[in-house]
């Protein structure tokens, strides 16, 4: 049986920084190279597949993040009962994997999404990221994969001072504790 238990991450508030876990969220990894694949995911999801580096596209339900020239991360905007999310899983699997256009992997349990909100979120990130957030900060929808306190993360600039951070489940509790420590000193 799949283990849907989540690591212990509560909502924590600091001055101008709010750290909260938003789970369960549906997450899918999509990989493919050719043009047919790119138009197919756009069609199935009603999203224009972002092909420019470090960008994303969204609709009311879903977000599609560029990870690499042949890899995207799809995640739901709202919390979702993962048992009910199979329809999307099946649909994409049948239309993409089965037709050999690309590969579709459900990574809902692989990543944990942590929402970072508040005026000082970029100060928190600066405490542990080698990435320059100057341009990222002002471009809504920007995506970056980088290191945060030596841990691989994906960061999605959802809105002004409102970020979604993806971290691997096994690292999530540690990163959460570290972020609390850092945020309490800012």
């Amino acid at each position: 049986m799949l283990n849907f238990n989540n690591p212990v991450i509560d909502t924590k508030e600091y001055s101008e920084i709010r750290i909260s876990k938003t789970e369960p969220i549906l997450k899918m990894n999509l990989r493919g190279k050719n043009r047919d694949f790119i138009t197919k995911i756009g069609k199935e999801l009603s999203i224009i597949t972002p092909v420019d580096p470090n960008t994303s596209a969204s609709n009311e339900k879903l977000n599609l993040l560029w990870l690499s020239p042949d890899e995207w991360l799809l995640y739901s905007n709202h919390m979702i009962d993962l048992k009910d999310a199979n329809f999307l899983d099946d649909k994409l699997f049948n239309e993409i994997s089965k037709k050999k256009l690309g590969s579709v992997t459900n990574v809902s349990d692989h990543w944990i999404m942590i929402n970072l909100n508040g005026k000082k979120v970029f100060e928190l990130l600066s405490a542990g990221c080698p990435y320059n957030f100057n341009n990222f900060k002002n471009s809504k929808g920007a995506v970056t994969q980088t290191l945060f306190n030596h841990i691989d993360v994906i960061i999605h600039n959802k809105n002004v001072n409102d970020l979604n951070l993806f971290v691997r489940r096994s690292f999530s509790e540690h990163l959460f504790l570290w972020m609390n420590d850092a945020a309490s000193r800012i």
Binding site: P53, N54, S68, P69, E71, P130, Q145, T146, L147, D152
Partner: protein, 91 residues
């Protein structure tokens, strides 16, 4: 610390990358027909130049793509970055 311009993601800190050794080493077509010395030459022997060297790098904590780089090993100056399969842009 220095910056590397990933051909896919743009300028990123060196800590996001992994070095992959000398570039453009061609795998022998028929490994079974080589002597042990010739095979060892392909597997292990690298130039390790002091000066301008062609290298493979991987953006391991970003897009996870491999690419090539022209780097001066004596001062870490990066002269060029180019994608896998492309010819080196300088001699």
């Amino acid at each position: 610390m220095f910056l590397i311009n990933c051909p896919y993601c743009g300028e990123r800190d060196q800590s996001e990358f992994t070095a992959g050794g000398e570039a453009h080493i061609v795998r022998p077509k028929q490994p079974t027909e080589l002597s042990d010395d010739q095979w060892a030459e392909f597997l292990f022997m690298r130039k390790n130049i002091k000066g301008v060297q062609l290298e493979r790098w991987n953006h391991s904590h970003g897009c996870r793509k491999w690419f090539n780089m022209v780097r001066d090993t004596s001062n870490d100056r990066i002269h060029a970055v180019y994608k896998m399969g492309q010819k080196p842009p300088i001699e």
